[in-house]
């Protein structure tokens, strides 16, 4: 049984697809869905129907996970919607280059240098902590081919509490 399950997993993850189908009714608030071609986090969900004896429809309001832009859609509850694969991996910050690119180290020790210092509070915090010589963990949000550092956290706090 376990072998069978594992086999199924490999098949599911082997394709390069950025989304997978899910029945509309199985979506949930705080889950993800593609709305107007963008990966969104569902912040509101409600059902309605055409007439009292009609079939259910689901009304979704989502926020683009990268831009925060609001998107909406309505879909019969039995239809499938595309759900984006959304990853949030943690990397250790090693360096910040002069042109604003980050050197990040993943769990397995591989380095990457393709992400920039993010905008907003996170970017400010990241630079301040880096300049202060603190160890920093960066959470990288990845979906539909886009990637961005979405959150940072001081790594010393982690060590202390552990």
């Amino acid at each position: 049984m376990a072998d069978m399950e594992e086999h199924e997993f490999h098949t599911a993850d082997s394709g390069a697809s950025e989304t997978f189908p899910m029945q509309c009714s199985a979506l949930r608030k705080n889950g993800f869905v593609m709305l107007k071609g963008r990966p969104c986090k569902i912040v509101e969900m409600s059902t309605s129907k055409t007439g009292k004896h009609g079939h259910a429809k689901v009304h979704m309001v989502g926020l683009d996970i990268f831009t925060g832009k609001k998107c909406e859609d309505i879909c019969p509850s039995t239809h499938n919607m595309d759900v984006p694969f959304v990853k949030r991996e943690d990397y250790q910050l090693m360096d910040i280059s002069d042109d604003g690119f980050l050197t990040l180290m993943g769990d397995s020790g591989d380095l990457r240098e393709d992400l920039k210092v993010p905008d907003g509070d996170v970017g400010v915090q990241l630079k301040t902590d880096y300049d202060a010589g603190r160890e920093i963990l960066c959470t990288v949000l990845k979906s539909c081919g886009e990637e961005v550092v979405i959150a940072v956290k001081n790594n010393t706090a982690l060590e202390k509490t552990n």
């Binding site: 993850d13 986090k41 007439g51 996170v122 979405i150 956290k153």
Partner: protein, 1118 residues
């Protein structure tokens, strides 16, 4: 004091305040407001007030002066010479009589001052009530023959007197004691209140047949309404109970026996009806006069003491009311009021009493309410066809009127059934017709076909009360209701079959099915409510009248059972079958029709709403009738035993069919959340007893349902998360009802072993492939499955289930650490702990409890290490943190439940040794985690601050000792958050904060921990609360909490308290005020035991004294 100058300043300020905004500057307005506010706080202002009253014509200034006078009179009554008060009183009276152009509100304020003076005079100067009675006599004596301004002024004075005497415990005037307020009110009720009442009646009688000025009538009716809604004093009620009762807005009318003569007067009753009939077409009056009637009919003891009195009262009231109901022109404005009147008459006069009223009067009355009920049903049907109506007047009236009938229909032993039977039949038929489409009924078309409606509440919820009442109507006339509903369902089911064929052949649109669906929908709802009632958690029994009806029908039981079985093959049931079995068979045939339509690929034509109704009906039927327990009843219908008894072969076959329906609906309707919910409910009712569960386990269909539950997951069968949890819960519950342990375990293996295997499989993969999307989704699904399993736990199954869920929950901390970036998984990990804490923890052994505590602790640690210090750019980051915190606090609070209620085997056997870790350790650790994440902004959110402060209060109540030894910075942070909670002032968090401080203070006091460093954090609250009281920032509702906490603080820090009091006293500039305040302080704590946290009596005395203290302190500080 330069009174003239002061008046000039006040008048200027008033002019500025009343001026249009463009004429005065902001600063001018602010200065004017400050001036008026300072005037309101003024003490010893008699001279100025008197001067103002004599010389000012500015309404606003006089208006404010009235309030200042009231306050000053309350504070300084004893200091003022009688003569001065008399002069003042007379002066105000002169102003009232002389200035006809003053507004009513203005006059009412001044009248309030007179009422206060009279109340005080009546209590302090000689015979109680003397001055008041003189004034009332004067007012009513002159008012009776006047109209216009004089009458309005009289009513204004009476209104002020009524208001002054309305409350005892909650009276605004704290200068009088509770006992004095009580004496004044009681005396008022027995004398002057009756005189005022008589005056109103006399006025109405005099003017009954003559045209009346609208304004005059309005004022008299207003006074009358206050009297009919009067909360009469009751002897021997504890003060706190009396305080609650007297705040009731619409109490029943209970005049004392001294009113008997007035009540018995033959003109008394008709006048109310006559006036209503006279003014009912005027929208300004109709609501008030109907309300007067409703209050009048609520009249009972002590004035209507015995049965004869009551029957006489009914004989007087029923004929005019019957006439009123029979008026041909019904007004929408009075419909709700009349419905309420009917309800009150039938509620306050039980069936046995009504049956003593003369037969013709009674018959006429019931005839009239029958016709009225049908009228309301018809109007409600029209109203229901309109969309977007906010005020459902007829729907609400119908609910009321049907509710009224319940008092008669459920008390058949004491009432002649034959009088109401034909009327009940008419109402039932009318209700049925109102919900059927033409030509059988008169349901109106609702134009919504193309519109998409947002989640509307289901009819079973929206019309819950109506349908329950109609169920009672139906059971009252079973020989009529059951055949008619059966016939309807047979006829409509056939119509549906035909129409589906027509629509399938495209000869008609799908919409043509809607009226049939709607007819069947209501037919099923009515049938379901007739057959069974919602036991609201109690065992759902078959109503006895249904057994009697079935037994009386005397049909062949075997024939009935065979017919029921055949209904699953859609064989129509003939009339020679038991009528109840036949009715249920009709629904089965309908259910089979749906299945076959679906099997033929026409499922898209079916109505999910109807599917939901059919499942709802079957669920209700299964709860009460299916596998019927003979031992619950004295008489059981043999037909029920043959068709649905535990030993019947048909039962077994039917259960399989019904399980099949559940299985099919779980797949067919997996996009319809309500249908799935009803299907799962049906499943639960098919297995909710040992006998049913044993039968189900042997059924061939149950494994198929188990397979569905096992098949839910990513890339497999999809189901809404909530539905999946409920399904697992239902499937596990089947095992919970198995008596035999080995069979139960064997059954659970079918569900929980595959789930555990999936979990095991994941554990291996998480370490190496944690970022794979499919693994994450599988984790979500498996955790949801275990949450569903945990939800099914109860006292008997908590331990065996924990053996299976325990290994999963111990991993939750690690899972959370790995997936801390994924909100959904974080929440699921916490939710699993919550479900176990909620439903299992109390019953778990100490060993298992410790396992759960460790798991919870590891969840808290993981959460804390990843959430602390995190800065995020995500748009929903704040909301996510908020949700996490709310869930986390739920978890910490649920864990504490073990400290409240421990039903573990060790606790029951008495071998209780303290475990290595306790619930409080986890909660305190969690508190340490939550604290750094909380801030003043987050505490503004009501749901979060409620939960946080409740947790803090629980912890201090149960474990103040452990709180005291928390790391000082943490405890300081808790106290700081509590201070924020107190300042925010929202009621619930405020009470929790008070509870926290008092628990800590009591602990410090009882264990003499004043010298411990951490008790220093508690001490400043003494000042905080005292300041709160002295600055008059305390609402009446919060006084109980504040008195408890202040008393506890005084017992904990008596020296600091004395020091604070001394500081306060020395800061007073005038000696008089210092002495008064000092006296108030000493009275507050005089002779109280404040050692070791104080005793109950002292605490209670302190509470009573605090209110007086607040009043006295107010007087000293202003």
């Amino acid at each position: 004091m330069d009174v003239r100058g002061s008046l000039e300043q006040l008048e200027t300020a008033a002019r500025i305040l009343m001026a249009p905004p463009d004429i005065v500057s902001k600063d001018e307005r602010f200065a004017a407001e400050t001036m008026i506010i300072n005037f309101r706080k003024m003490r010893n202002a008699f001279v100025l007030c008197k001067y103002i009253l004599e010389n000012s014509q500015t309404e606003l200034v006089i208006f404010e002066t009235a309030d200042v006078l009231r306050n000053n009179l309350m504070q300084d009554w004893n200091k003022l010479p009688d003569e001065d008060i008399k002069t003042l009183n007379q002066h105000i009276l002169n102003i009232l009589l002389g200035n006809t152009e003053f507004s009513y509100a203005m006059k009412r304020r001044l009248a309030g001052v007179i009422a206060l003076i009279v109340k005080h005079q009546s209590l302090t100067n000689g015979a109680i009530g003397k001055q008041r009675t003189e004034l009332v006599s004067h007012i009513v004596g002159t008012a009776l023959n006047t109209t216009g301004n004089h009458l309005v002024l009289a009513c204004c004075m009476l209104d002020a007197l009524l208001a002054e005497h309305q409350y005892v415990v909650n009276a605004e005037d704290a200068s009088l004691t509770y006992e004095m307020h009580f004496a004044a009110k009681r005396d008022f009720e027995n004398s002057d209140l009756l005189r005022i009442f008589q005056f109103c009646l006399q006025f109405l009688t005099t003017h009954e047949h003559s045209p009346m000025k609208q304004r005059d009538l309005d004022h008299v009716l207003k006074v009358l309404e206050i009297i009919l809604c009067w909360n009469f004093t009751k002897q021997n009620l504890p003060k706190r109970v009396a305080g609650v009762i007297e705040m009731e807005a619409m109490p029943t009318f209970k005049p004392p026996s001294s009113w008997l003569d007035t009540i018995n007067d033959s003109a008394f009753m008709p006048i109310f009806f006559n006036i209503h009939v006279k003014v009912r077409h005027d929208d300004n009056f109709v609501l008030r006069t109907v309300n007067l009637l409703a209050q009048l009919v609520s009249m009972h003891r002590p004035v209507l003491m015995n049965r004869e009195n009551r029957v006489e009262f009914l004989s007087k009231i029923l004929p005019p009311f019957t006439t009123l109901l029979n008026l041909p022109d019904k007004l929408s404005m009075e419909i709700y009021g009349l419905s309420d009147l009917i309800r009150k008459i039938l509620l306050f006069n039980r069936a046995a009493l009504l049956s003593l009223v003369e037969t013709q009067t009674l018959e006429n009355f019931f005839q009239a309410i029958g016709i009225f009920s049908c009228y309301v049903i018809q109007q409600a049907a029209i109203e229901e066809s309109k969309s977007g109506v906010d005020d459902r007047l007829y729907r609400d009236s119908l609910t009321r009127v049907l509710e009224a009938w319940m008092n008669i229909l459920t008390d058949t032993e004491n009432f002649p059934k034959q009088i109401v039977q034909p009327i009940v039949t008419d109402i039932f038929n009318c209700y049925l017709k109102a919900h059927l489409s033409p030509p059988e009924g008169f349901r109106q078309l609702v134009a919504t076909a193309d519109e998409s409606e947002e989640d509307e509440e289901s009819d079973t919820n929206q019309f819950r009360d109506q349908l329950q009442a109609v169920g009672v109507f139906g059971r009252f006339i079973l020989p009529h209701s059951v055949p008619i509903i059966t016939q309807l369902l047979i006829f409509k089911c056939q119509a549906l079959q035909k129409q589906i064929e027509i629509v399938a052949s495209q000869a008609a649109p799908r919409e043509s099915l809607e009226p049939i669906y709607e007819d069947i929908h209501w037919g099923i709802l009515m049938a379901g409510h007739i057959l069974a009632f919602d036991g609201l958690g109690e065992t759902n029994l078959v109503p006895s009248e249904i057994h009697d009806y079935s037994i009386a029908a005397d049909k062949d039981p075997d024939l009935s059972a065979a017919a029921f079985e055949k209904s699953f093959q859609m064989v129509n049931v003939e009339e020679n079958v038991d009528p109840i079995v036949r009715l249920v068979s009709c629904v089965i045939i309908l259910s089979e029709t749906e299945r076959r339509v679906n099997a033929s690929g026409l499922g898209y034509l079916l109505s999910p709403e109807l599917a939901s109704n059919v499942l709802w009906f079957l669920h209700r039927f299964c709860e009460s009738y299916f596998v019927i327990s003979e031992e619950y009843y004295t008489n059981v219908s043999p037909s029920f035993l043959a068709a649905w008894g535990p030993l019947s072969q048909v039962t077994k076959i039917s259960q399989t069919f019904l399980l099949q329906r559940v299985k099919e609906d779980l797949i067919r309707y997996n996009g319809e959340v309500t249908v799935m919910r009803d299907a799962i409910n049906l499943l639960l009712s098919l297995v909710d007893s040992n006998k049913k569960a044993e039968l189900a386990i042997h059924s061939t269909e149950l494994p198929a349902i188990v397979e569905i539950a096992n098949g839910v997951g990513p890339g497999k069968y999809q189901m809404p998360n909530e539905a999946y949890r409920k399904l697992v819960r239902a499937v596990i519950s089947v095992g919970s009802f198995c008596e035999e342990q080995s069979r139960r375990e064997q059954y659970w293996d079918q569900v929980l072993v595959p789930l555990a295997a999936r979990f095991q499989n994941l554990s291996g993969l998480i370490s190496t492939e944690k970022h794979r999307d499919d693994i994450r989704m599988e984790i979500s699904c498996v955790l949801s499955g275990f949450i569903g399993a945990a939800m099914s736990s109860h006292s008997k199954t908590a331990t065996p289930l924990f053996k299976r869920i325990g290994p999963v929950v111990t991993e939750c901390g690690a899972i959370l650490a790995t997936y801390h970036n994924y909100v959904d998984i974080v929440e699921l990990c916490i939710e699993l702990v919550i479900e176990l804490a909620k439903r299992s923890l109390s019953y778990l052994s100490s060993g298992d409890s410790v396992t759960l505590y460790h798991s919870a602790m590891s969840v808290v640690k993981s959460y804390s290490s990843h959430a602390r210090g995190r800065v995020s750019n995500e748009k929903t980051a704040e909301e996510d943190t908020f949700n996490d915190l709310v869930t986390l606090m739920d978890m910490l609070t649920c864990l504490l439940s073990k400290d409240f209620l421990d039903l573990s085997p060790e606790s029951i056997s008495g071998n209780n040794t303290p475990p290595s870790v306790s619930a409080s350790d986890v909660s305190l650790l969690g508190l340490g985690t939550v604290l750094p994440l909380m801030n003043a902004d987050l505490l503004q959110f009501p749901s979060l601050s409620n939960k946080y402060f409740r947790l803090v209060a629980f912890l201090s109540e149960l474990h103040a000792d452990k709180m005291m030894v928390l790391p000082p910075p943490m405890l300081q942070a808790v106290y700081e958050s509590v201070e924020i909670g107190l300042r925010n002032g929202a009621a619930d968090p405020f009470a929790s904060c008070c509870e926290f401080v008092s628990c800590m203070a009591i602990h410090i006091s009882r264990h003499s921990q004043q010298s411990v460093q951490t008790s220093e954090y508690c001490k400043p609250f003494l000042k905080i609360f005292l300041e709160m009281i002295l600055s008059q920032r305390v609402s009446k509702e919060s006084i109980p909490s504040i008195s408890t906490v202040l008393f506890a603080l005084i017992t904990a820090f008596p020296d600091a308290y004395s020091e604070l009091v001394n500081q306060l006293l020395s800061s007073r500039s005038s000696e008089e005020s210092r002495n008064k305040l000092s006296l108030a302080f000493s009275k507050l704590t005089e002779n109280l035991n404040i050692q070791n946290g104080g005793d109950r009596l002292s605490r209670s005395a302190f509470r009573d004294r605090l209110e007086t203290f607040i009043f006295s302190a107010k007087g000293c500080l202003e």
